[in-house]
């Protein structure tokens, strides 16, 4: 486990659990104490997208936290019901806009489940390569966001420098910087341009070289960072699983659940990587898990580039995609957790029903559970632990 030996010298930081800060209602009534109602968001500089939190504050202590969603709701599921199968893919890009590739991949897996199409091995490798680059491009900014929420502005710009570089690679491969529309039903849109494998290799090498300086040295040992994140948002494994948490937020409690290994898809069984876990289940642990996963992603990218076979990149799906009646499921490990797609077909060329299970939506339930008892400034690091994306929870 990552954090154990680091924590050994720091036991003093643990005081009482946050719930002990709550004043019981009886006492509040007896002394006539009042609470403040406060609206955090939807316009709030540090909120992840458009989320409104209705807070009840007792001084600085949060008594009740009620997330209100829907400010970015586009009813993607209804949109998908009125579009042809291939035309839904660019819409899935808009779901979790920090993990577009994963959304496309999940949707395509679900439709391929319906179609039983053969996917060429090179396409599978390209998909995994792109998804892992996307994971880097999502995890690194989320570390930056965590720091931004703690009040340090600088790491986010270092993070976005990396994201921009990855986006430039994506632009050369897919043609767009953010809304890629690259993974298609039956493969990927086009083969990698000839110079791109070398560019990706060079990029991950250079990232490895300065990753430690910019995202570990700058943050890891900072006493203020440690005091702000250690034992903040602490949850047990049972609590996390009970609330349906997946992804780094679950792994930071020590549950080594990773869909890439447990429900293998694509070519992940052929690749060597570890599932990063930590035991503490607090914000600091989630930061460490994300750092570890970035390094694992770099390893996966290198393996993909080394093992990538030659060949076709788009399987034959016919001119019109019109699956038989039935339903298809796709489940992938997005940077935020389990992203699952359920597609129901009625035999026409538009899906009868598409359901997205987005990790941001499910992980956000944690807010109601663990925020009460924390101080107001702790809400932001806890949001950093969950790392939700507005397009994800609002579909």
């Amino acid at each position: 486990m990552l954090g154990e030996e680091r924590r050994a010298g720091h036991e003093g930081a643990l005081t009482e659990p946050p719930s002990s800060r709550l004043v019981s209602p009886d006492i509040r009534d007896e002394f006539g104490l009042e609470t403040i109602d406060m609206n955090m968001g939807p316009q709030h500089p540090a909120m992840h997208g458009l989320l409104r939190l209705i807070l009840e504050l007792d001084g600085e202590t949060v008594v009740r936290c009620d997330p209100v969603m829907g400010y970015l709701h586009r009813c993607q599921e209804k949109i998908a019901e009125n579009r042809m199968y291939p035309a839904v893919i660019p819409m899935t890009d808009r779901l979790d806009y920090f993990a577009n590739m994963h959304n496309e991949h999940g949707y395509c897996l679900a439709v391929e489940d319906l179609l039983d199409v053969e996917i060429p091995p090179r396409a599978e490798y390209i998909r995994v390569l792109m998804c892992e680059l996307m994971r880097l491009a999502s995890h690194i900014p989320s570390i930056g966001f965590l720091m931004l929420e703690l009040g340090a502005f600088t790491p986010i710009l270092y993070a976005f420098r990396e994201r921009e570089r990855i986006q430039s690679i994506f632009e050369a491969v897919t043609g767009a910087r953010m809304m890629f529309h690259y993974i298609r039903i039956g493969g990927v849109k086009a083969d990698l341009p000839p110079d791109i494998p070398q560019k990706i290799w060079d990029y991950v090498e250079s990232l490895e070289a300065h990753f430690k300086r910019d995202f570990v040295d700058l943050i890891e040992d900072n006493e203020i960072f440690i005091s702000r994140t250690r034992n903040v948002g602490k949850m047990t494994q049972e609590q996390a699983v009970e609330m349906g948490v997946t992804g780094p937020a679950l792994r930071c409690t020590g549950v080594d659940f990773d869909i890439r290994l447990d429900y293998p898809y694509s070519v992940y069984p052929e690749l060597q990587f570890e599932v990063i876990t930590d035991t503490a289940g607090d914000v600091e642990a989630s930061y460490r898990v994300r750092i570890g996963e970035c390094l694992q992603s770099i390893q996966i990218i290198k393996q993909c580039l080394e093992q990538m076979p030659e060949g076709e990149v788009l399987g034959d799906t016919g001119r019109r995609i019109r699956p038989a009646e039935g339903e298809g499921f796709g489940r992938i490990e997005s940077p935020r957790g389990e992203f699952a797609v359920h597609v129901v077909s009625d035999g026409s060329d538009t899906p009868y029903r598409v359901h997205y299970r987005d990790p941001s939506f499910c992980n956000m339930q944690l807010l109601q559970e663990i925020v009460p008892g924390h101080y107001l400034p702790d809400i932001m690091p806890i949001m950093g632990l969950i790392d939700p994306v507005s397009g994800g929870w609002d579909k």
């Binding site: 050369a172 043609g175 767009a176 910019d214 700058l218 900072n222 203020i224 009646e325």
Partner: protein, 170 residues
């Protein structure tokens, strides 16, 4: 007991390195990056090649393409063929997904390298390519009479949805 301030000093060392380091800002209007070959800019249409097959209009997820179709004997072969008299691409809706480019059978719609679109009015962003302007906000109405032309099958009308029953799975 770690030395107090050590971690902060380490972090400040990193920021000091960056203070004198290479900057990454690009001064945009003066400096423009070379776009990669595949980059997807604004769409344009080569109207001479367009055969008004309406594939792009059908596939477009945003309904940003509207085509007004007539029958016209444009090439003087004596046979009237579908002809796009009006063709509009509404850039205020387009999301550059490139689906229309992929379905086009004659490669007449393609991406350019332009990406800077601005206007004071949303309708100004609707670019007209045909002889006759088309209102992009109105759904295209059929103008072609259904003839016995040898032109393949019909568009799928409202497909009957199977009511209830478990589908396939269970």
């Amino acid at each position: 007991m770690p030395q107090i301030g050590q971690g902060i000093m380490k972090g400040m060392g990193v920021t000091l390195q960056h203070l004198f380091g290479q900057k990454i800002t690009r001064q945009y209007p003066e400096y423009k990056r070379d776009l990669p070959e595949r980059s997807r800019g604004m769409l344009t249409v080569d109207m001479d090649r367009c055969i008004a097959c309406l594939q792009c209009m059908r596939i477009c997820p945003d309904h940003c393409i509207s085509i007004e179709q007539t029958k016209r004997d444009a090439d003087g072969s004596g046979k009237p063929k579908p002809y796009p008299v009006g063709f509009v691409i509404d850039d205020s809706r387009c999301m550059y997904c490139s689906l229309c480019v992929e379905v086009c059978p004659v490669n007449c719609i393609y991406h350019t390298e332009e990406f800077e679109a601005q206007a004071y009015n949303r309708l100004e962003l609707a670019r007209q390519f045909g002889e006759r302007p088309v209102d992009p906000t109105v759904d295209p109405k059929p103008t072609v009479k259904k003839k016995k032309k040898a032109t393949t099958k019909k568009a799928p009308k409202t497909v009957e949805r199977p009511v209830t029953e478990k589908d396939g799975a269970a």
